[in-house]
């Protein structure tokens, strides 16, 4: 017998029970599964498909690439067929498709927010009611309020059953990793704990957790906390601890820091460049101009140390102490701090 993923028993049962009930009474039914990436939505649905295969057929559609009504209908009639077979002309109507079904069909619409229009999004949730109860729609996406935003417009007598998938907690992540690795013994307990704790704190994403461990295992067969920490830092540490800046970019950043410390007014690139060229004169550093200056600024932006908003204002993306550590030249910083810019 097919069972639920660990930690997703409730969600799995809710879907299976409700589908069976709806089929028994020929009632239309829809679901909306939401949750952050890697919380097991798609994986759960795959298990549901298997568990219900005695009473339903199924078609799995990823809306990232199949996102118009025509594409959807085509996918409904030829779920397993190779795409080579071109369907010329108009595909049959939904009603025809539903009529031809021997068993009810689970229509899984993954990443449903990618559908080409919100009208289409409303209409797929109305299919079971308006076309046939044999189409059982299961929509999946990340945002929890997608259907809430569209519910008033749906005007459904039976709203979708919404199932939020909560991010995994530390212990669940530990179980998931252990299951994926199979040979638990190769993992040191503390580093497993470290990974699970960190991922639970930032995202609760099982996919990330497993990838981090695999990455660490590619460094050494039996990774310790050191390797795990290394991998975690390469993704989750702020970019600055990894950045290295050329001299001119350091000066620019130091000037940026100096000005944004003292002034409440907005700092533009124009003002920054003027202050920078003053600072260079004072510090006796040859100032660069034009495209070189743009390049030096570009380094700061591409390392996410600062950004320019739509109104042209510069915003430091880091706090003052990290900025100092990136500039890594306390002498220069104090010189620039002393200037009257």
């Amino acid at each position: 017998m097919v069972t639920a993923l660990k930690g997703r028993e409730k969600e799995f049962d809710t879907i299976c029970d409700n589908v069976r009930k709806a089929i028994a009474t020929s009632q239309p039914i829809t679901f909306y599964l939401s949750g952050l990436p890697g919380t097991g939505k798609t994986a759960t649905v795959y298990r549901v498909i298997e568990a219900l295969s005695d009473v339903t057929t199924s078609v799995f559609i990823n809306c990232a690439s199949v996102n118009t009504l025509k594409d959807l209908t085509t996918a409904l009639i030829s779920p397993a067929e190779s795409p080579k077979k071109k369907t010329r002309g108009r595909p049959p109507s939904l009603a025809k498709i539903a009529e031809a079904l021997s068993k009810p069909m689970l229509v899984i619409l993954d990443e449903i927010d990618h559908l080409s229009s919100s009208t289409l999004l409303y209409s797929v949730f109305r299919w079971p009611q308006e076309v046939s109860w044999k189409l059982i729609v299961i929509g999946i996406a990340n945002s929890i309020d997608l259907t809430e935003r569209l519910l008033p417009k749906l005007k459904l007598t039976i709203p979708p059953i919404t199932l939020p998938f909560a991010p995994y907690n530390k212990d669940q992540l530990k179980d998931i990793i252990a299951e994926k690795l199979q040979d638990e013994n190769s993992m040191d307990k503390t580093s497993l704990e470290l990974c699970a704790r960190k991922i639970a704190a930032v995202s609760g994403d099982a996919r990330s957790a497993v990838r981090v461990i695999k990455q660490a295992k590619s460094v050494t067969a039996t990774p310790t906390t050191r390797e795990v920490l290394g991998v975690l830092n390469s993704v989750y540490a702020s970019p600055l601890s990894r950045a290295r800046l050329p001299l001119q970019s350091q000066v620019l950043l130091a000037v940026c820091l100096r000005i944004s410390n003292n002034k409440k007014t907005a700092l533009t690139r124009f003002a920054l460049y003027n202050a920078y060229s003053k600072a260079c004169t004072e510090l006796n550093i040859p100032a660069v101009k034009g495209d070189d200056l743009e390049t030096a600024w570009g380094n700061i932006e591409s390392q996410s140390l600062a950004s320019v908003d739509k109104a042209g204002r510069i915003r430091l993306q880091i706090d003052a102490s990290t900025a100092r550590s990136v500039i890594a030249n306390s002498h220069m910083i104090s010189q620039i701090d002393d200037l009257n810019l």
Binding site: A64, H114, K289
Partner: protein, 395 residues
């Protein structure tokens, strides 16, 4: 060129060959066998690739970042080529530079054609559907596929559905498809890609730090190993210049190439510091300086008016009527006949050159007199432009 009949002709020819040889070695399309200073990155990429193409290798993804000219493309391609030479056709490597695609969706067509080796025309939708299906299924007979996407940021569409598909392929561990994505931005996945893509991209990250001046020097010296036409100091100067701004090796090579050309023109026997200095000076005179020099007299006076306005008020933003006042008085001084029509027309030219930035129209700024504008270059640079114009003969 061969018109001189002096006795030094033979010697000159030798010098010419020496420097021409040098120029050839400095050609940017010449990818060296060896990549000094990138040993760590080479090892990491090689290890990664070996694990994904090994018999029980799994689909995976890697993200490589670094500012331009830090050897990302060269390193990835070199490692893949070496591996291909070593193990033969046991895996399939596909390199695509997204910047070269006219439409990012063409990506699917290119990958599809590479995999099927089919030269028939195929539509984007068909190719994409085929690939999605191919990577959903598991076929142990198909060799592992490695897809390199250079300049990943050019694949970003508003909904990011293309990038989603590509990284979604790698979530099917047994489909044996691996993606190596290359871009400039260190934290592009976190900053610009949606969370569901970042999650699929995973935690395999590799950074290429900008080269230091010592590194630039040693890379170039290695590349020019058997030539004597350069002084060490020459390479050092170019290295220092570039490392201070970007650490972009390509720029350093450009400077030296230009220096070698200057030496060749001057019939010098070696490339000297002087040549490098003038080469640097040349590359510095930016595109905007060229624009400025191409301006009409009215254009110059308008630019001078804008600069004066900013200088006297100390405020970046000004309105057209303020600029116009200065412009009229400068025109009078130069014996030019300034008027509003010319001024407006030239403002458009200046704006297309980004010498002046004109704010977008809002409901209240329909009136030209009140249009807001800014200088498009730093004040200091604007002043330098004008200074150079005053005495155009000085070097």
């Amino acid at each position: 060129m061969a018109k001189s009949k002096t006795p030094t002709r033979a010697a000159n020819k030798e010098v010419k060959n020496l420097i021409e040889d040098l120029l050839k070695k400095l050609h940017t399309s010449e990818v060296p066998e060896d990549l000094p200073c990138r040993g760590e990155q080479i090892n990491k990429i090689e290890k990664f690739l070996r694990s994904v193409i090994s018999p029980n290798g799994e689909s995976s993804a890697m993200y490589i970042s670094g500012v331009p000219g830090t050897g990302k493309t060269a390193t990835v391609q070199t490692v893949v080529r070496r591996l291909e030479d070593e193990v033969g056709p046991t895996f399939k490597a596909i390199y695509i530079n997204a910047m070269e695609l006219i439409d990012p969706k063409e990506f699917f067509v290119r990958v599809y054609k590479e995999i099927t080796q089919d030269s028939k025309r195929v539509g984007i939708t068909t190719a994409r559907r085929h690939l999605n299906l191919l990577f959903q299924s598991i076929d142990r007979k198909r060799p592992p596929i490695i897809i390199m996407i250079d300049e990943l940021d050019h694949m970003c569409t508003k909904r990011q559905e293309l990038i989603y598909d590509i990284f979604n392929w790698t979530t099917n561990e047994r489909a044996r498809v691996t993606v190596i994505a290359i871009a400039n931005t260190l934290d592009l996945p976190e900053r610009m890609l949606s969370q569901r893509i970042a999650s699929r991209l995973g935690s395999n990250r590799l950074t290429f730090e900008p080269y230091t001046h010592q590194q630039i020097q040693s890379i170039i010296t290695a590349r020019l190993s058997d030539t004597t036409a350069f002084d060490d100091q020459v390479v050092e100067l170019a290295g220092r210049k570039v490392a201070a701004i970007s650490g972009d090796l390509r720029k350093a090579i450009e400077i030296l190439r230009r220096a070698a050309e200057l030496a060749l023109d001057a019939k010098a026997s070696r490339v000297s510091l002087e040549h490098v200095q003038s080469s640097i000076a040349e590359t510095q005179s930016s595109i905007r300086m060229g624009y400025f020099q191409s301006l009409s007299e009215h254009g110059i006076e308008l630019f001078r008016a804008a600069t004066t306005q900013v200088m006297t008020t100390g405020v970046e933003e000004f309105r057209f009527y303020e600029l116009f006042k200065h412009y009229l008085s400068f025109c009078a001084g130069q014996g030019l006949d300034g008027n509003e029509l010319i001024a407006r027309e030239i403002i458009c030219t200046l704006s297309s050159m980004r010498l002046i930035i004109v704010a977008a129209t809002t409901a209240h700024s329909h009136n030209w007199w009140h249009r807001k504008m800014q200088l498009g270059v730093p004040l200091q640079e604007a002043l330098d432009f004008l200074k150079s114009y005053k005495n155009p003969d000085s070097p």
